[in-house]
């Protein structure tokens, strides 16, 4: 009976409708796929588009900022630490921004005078402005003494003023060569402590009345230089140009056991060392690194890491969820138990144990990555599993199975594409959550990625937190960056979800 149909000769077959006219109207419009449709819907959502632009900008920032910054992550300045944003030339303009200004309270007359003297000697005025004055009355031996205190905005970079340091003879000679070439005065004449009432502040170059540092002025109200011309002091040869008013006898250095000690302007020395003036758009952190560059370096790592983690978790979660959802029954039950146990493990424990066990063997970053991979895929697999449960019983799957499609083909060719939308969306929401938890972990110091990544946003923020009240910029800039990044990623993810699953629009979970 069956055999009768098996060997029907080819000629007996004929087309049902070969030359007939089809009366259906031909579709004029172009067919639009699922993704194109989603994209159209996404474009309508203004806030998500803005978020996408901001993300693009921040990603660009993280790539570009280390390139355009004159500094690298290894440039650590020993003095300019936790200093406010400064770009050369802004301080003199009085624009109020990028001038390295920080307000210092309770500066007395002597202090104000000292800053003015620093301005006179180095030609760089550290006082950006006097913010306020207050008068404090106090009783001194029965008399009322009024002392005036100033609140000054000081340019921190100029306020470093003159320092004393020991150089080798070679470096001392090299600085002189630099002075001759550029005309920038780095080395200033020596002042002996005994001439200025044994005050150790290297910025004081004038004659003083007392150990408090009250200046002794001449008839015109000018400071009287206390530069040493003691010819008994042995120094290194100084052939470079001398400062104004030098009668030619002032000495510029003092010998200190095989090296030479001198007074030098740190700002100009910085120019000598780095070839350019300080240029810290976002200020510096506690290690003297440029924040502008460091944020970029940290963010670059965070973003790459987050993308990598979500890609791996996506892969594992999809396969795991597909097997769970497709086979169901006992397999599902067992796999679900495993996922349950893993999801019960607190993430911080997971990270810590991986660090303790593996960081010596495979490195900090891989063991950190393993910690994410161990539990990160669970959410994704649950999503995929749900989609598989929904679609595996549908007629088209049955039809494909009847036609002899293998399990693998059914899973990944027929059912899986249905869950693509969900996956894309959750991916966009996984990235910010990875960034956020990575920031938390590095912030808490549980993982130290500085040796691998240079720095991370979390590390920068934990450094900034310790000086949050005195140098808020060290906290503000990374905070703004990370907040903006996370907010835009979440907005973007919500927009994607609405675009891919229009039925859930407006639900926020």
């Amino acid at each position: 009976m069956e055999n009768e149909f098996e060997n029907i000769p080819k000629e007996l077959f004929e087309f049902a409708q070969l030359n007939e006219v089809l009366h259906d109207k031909k579709m004029d419009t172009k067919a639009r796929g699922y993704f194109a449709d989603a994209f159209l819907r996404f474009k309508k959502n203004k806030s998500s588009v803005v978020a996408a632009v901001i993300i693009a900008f921040l990603v660009l920032f993280s790539i570009v900022s280390p390139l355009i910054s004159p500094y690298t992550i290894n440039d650590k300045d020993g003095i300019y630490q936790n200093y406010p944003p400064y770009v050369e030339g802004f301080a003199e303009k009085g624009s109020g921004i990028l001038n390295g200004g920080k307000v210092l309270a309770s500066q007395n007359e002597e202090a104000l005078d000292k800053w003015k003297a620093v301005a006179k000697e180095t030609g760089m005025d550290p006082v950006n402005g006097i913010v306020g004055t207050e008068e404090v009355e106090s009783k001194h031996r029965g008399q009322t003494v009024i002392s005036k205190y100033y609140k000054l905005e000081l340019n921190q970079y100029y306020a470093v003023g003159i320092r004393t340091q020991t150089f080798s003879y070679e470096e001392f000679a090299d600085i002189q060569r630099f002075q001759d070439e550029t005309g920038i005065q780095v080395i200033y004449p020596w002042v002996e402590a005994k001439d200025i009432e044994n005050i150790t502040d290297a910025s004081i170059w004038y004659k003083v009345k007392d150990a408090k540092g009250t200046a002794l002025k001449d008839a015109n109200g000018d400071w009287i230089p206390a530069y040493s011309s003691n010819s008994e002091i042995e120094g290194a040869p100084y052939t470079s140009h001398r400062i104004d008013g030098d009668p030619g006898t002032w000495i510029y250095s003092v010998r200190k056991s095989g090296a030479v000690s001198c007074r030098f302007s740190y700002y100009n020395y910085y120019i000598y060392k780095n070839g350019h003036a300080p240029h810290y758009l976002f200020g510096t952190n506690v290690m003297g690194q440029d924040m502008f560059m460091a944020i970029g370096v940290g963010a670059r790592f965070s973003l790459l890491f987050a993308v990598m983690v979500s890609a791996i978790n996506l892969f594992i979660g999809t396969i795991y969820g597909a097997i769970q959802g497709y086979y169901g029954g006992k397999i599902d039950l067992v796999l679900d138990r495993i996922a349950d146990v893993l999801s019960g493990l607190p993430f911080i424990v997971c990270v810590t144990l991986f660090q303790l066990h593996l960081s010596n063997k495979v490195g900090v970053v891989p063991s950190f990555l393993f910690a994410y991979v161990l539990t990160g895929w669970i959410g994704m697999s649950a999503l995929v599993r749900k989609q598989f449960y929904r679609f595996k019983g549908q007629e088209y799957v049955l039809a494909a199975r009847t036609l002899g499609a293998s399990d693998k083909r059914l899973m990944f060719k027929h059912i899986f594409p249905n869950s693509l939308g969900t996956i894309v969306t959750s991916c966009a929401l996984v990235i910010p959550s990875v960034i956020s938890s990575e920031t938390n972990m590095t912030y808490l110091g549980i993982v130290d990625l500085s040796s691998f990544a240079g720095t991370t946003i979390g590390t920068l923020m934990s450094q900034g937190q310790s000086v949050a009240t005195t140098s808020p910029h060290a906290m503000v800039f990374p905070s703004i960056f990370i907040s903006l990044l996370l907010i835009s990623f979440n907005l973007f993810g919500n927009g994607l979800r609405d675009a891919f699953n229009p039925s859930t629009r407006g639900m926020e979970d």
């Binding site: 019960g344 607190p346 424990v349 303790l356 009240t469």
Partner: protein, 317 residues
């Protein structure tokens, strides 16, 4: 119902046991920290290690560990941070601070969160709703140490109203202590408020558009009556369990906030035990945090089934 609850609780214990076993083994495999030679406590720690079978195979050690925990609630003695002191006692010492700070925070923030959520849902698609929703989204996205910084900067540095760090000491109910807790409480509250606003709003908007609300209006109820009697009740099906979850969560506290404001609580103890490293302390706190997580989940699920018996979380479909 009871069968479901017992089942869930048994499963929870099984999960907890497995996680404990895994963590225990991994922790015991680590090299032990060196003990200070001159310290008299070293003797105690060494004796304790002998009693806990540190030189026996790990399964035996695990057996001894479980026996001690179940019979005497003995988690061993600290061997680094608080050398020679009983781990459970240190933990009990730290728990009140965490609980009080978190309790204040959720007591303040849950009502605010729910009220904001209701407000947003009732004014759906007006500027009020948009503002509340956007703020909620922003607050949820921004990491908690950013608020901590803002609060510290404004209230301590700029205004000088509150201290920067929490007082040490144990007089939890004095005014100065309360004042010193406030920055931490406020920083914790942001997240809780935003979470509850979001849940309430999402749930209430869904309820408000459902058909029984229309029926209630057609019966002649005013909008307020319908909202209070029908919508809010139904919305609480979701909100109430998360309140229970939040109450369990107060035990755990927040690692970051506790560290920033130097709250002498469990969170900072945990961080110290990791950085120490102090393995007996770390083991106990790991078990503690795992159980908090599992407990919060199970309480939420079970309270769902009490409030709305149609819902059976995690049961067979």
């Amino acid at each position: 119902m009871w069968k479901y609850i017992t089942q869930r609780i048994l499963l929870m214990f099984m999960t907890l046991l497995i996680i404990t076993a895994i963590c225990f083994v991994l922790i015991r495999l680590l090299p032990l920290p060196l003990l200070p030679a001159q310290d008299p406590h070293t003797e105690v720690v060494l004796m304790e290690r002998e009693a806990l079978g540190y030189n026996k195979p790990i399964p035996v050690q695990f057996g001894i560990f479980l026996k001690n925990v179940f019979t005497k609630f003995d988690w061993g003695v600290s061997d680094k941070l608080y050398i020679g002191r009983d781990v459970a006692a240190i933990f009990a010492d730290k728990l009140p601070a965490t609980m009080i700070v978190n309790l204040y925070s959720i007591i303040f923030s849950i009502p605010i969160g729910i009220i904001l959520g209701i407000f947003a849902a009732l004014k759906k698609n007006t500027w009020i709703d948009h503002t509340i929703s956007t703020l909620t989204m922003v607050v949820i996205s921004v990491p908690s140490f950013v608020y901590a910084f803002i609060i510290q900067y404004i209230f301590y540095y700029k205004l000088g109203l509150l201290p920067a760090l929490m007082n040490s000491g144990k007089d939890y109910f004095t005014w100065s202590m309360f004042k010193s807790m406030l920055p931490a409480v406020m920083s914790l509250s942001f997240g809780v408020i935003a979470g509850f606003t979001r849940t309430t709003r999402a749930e209430l908007t869904e309820v408000l558009t459902s058909e029984f609300m229309l029926l209630a209006r057609t019966k002649g109820l005013t909008k307020t009556q319908a909202t209070v009697r029908h919508a809010l009740k139904n919305c609480m099906v979701v909100v109430l369990p998360s309140i229970f979850g939040a109450f369990i969560g107060i035990l755990g506290g927040s690692l970051i906030i506790e560290r920033i404001f130097s709250v002498p609580g469990v969170g900072s103890l945990y961080l110290n035990s990791i950085n120490g490293p102090d393995y007996p302390l770390f083991t106990m706190l790991t078990v503690f945090y795992t159980s908090i997580g599992l407990l919060a989940g199970i309480v939420v699920d079970i309270s769902y089934s009490f409030i709305d018996p149609r819902i059976r979380m995690g049961s067979k479909k």
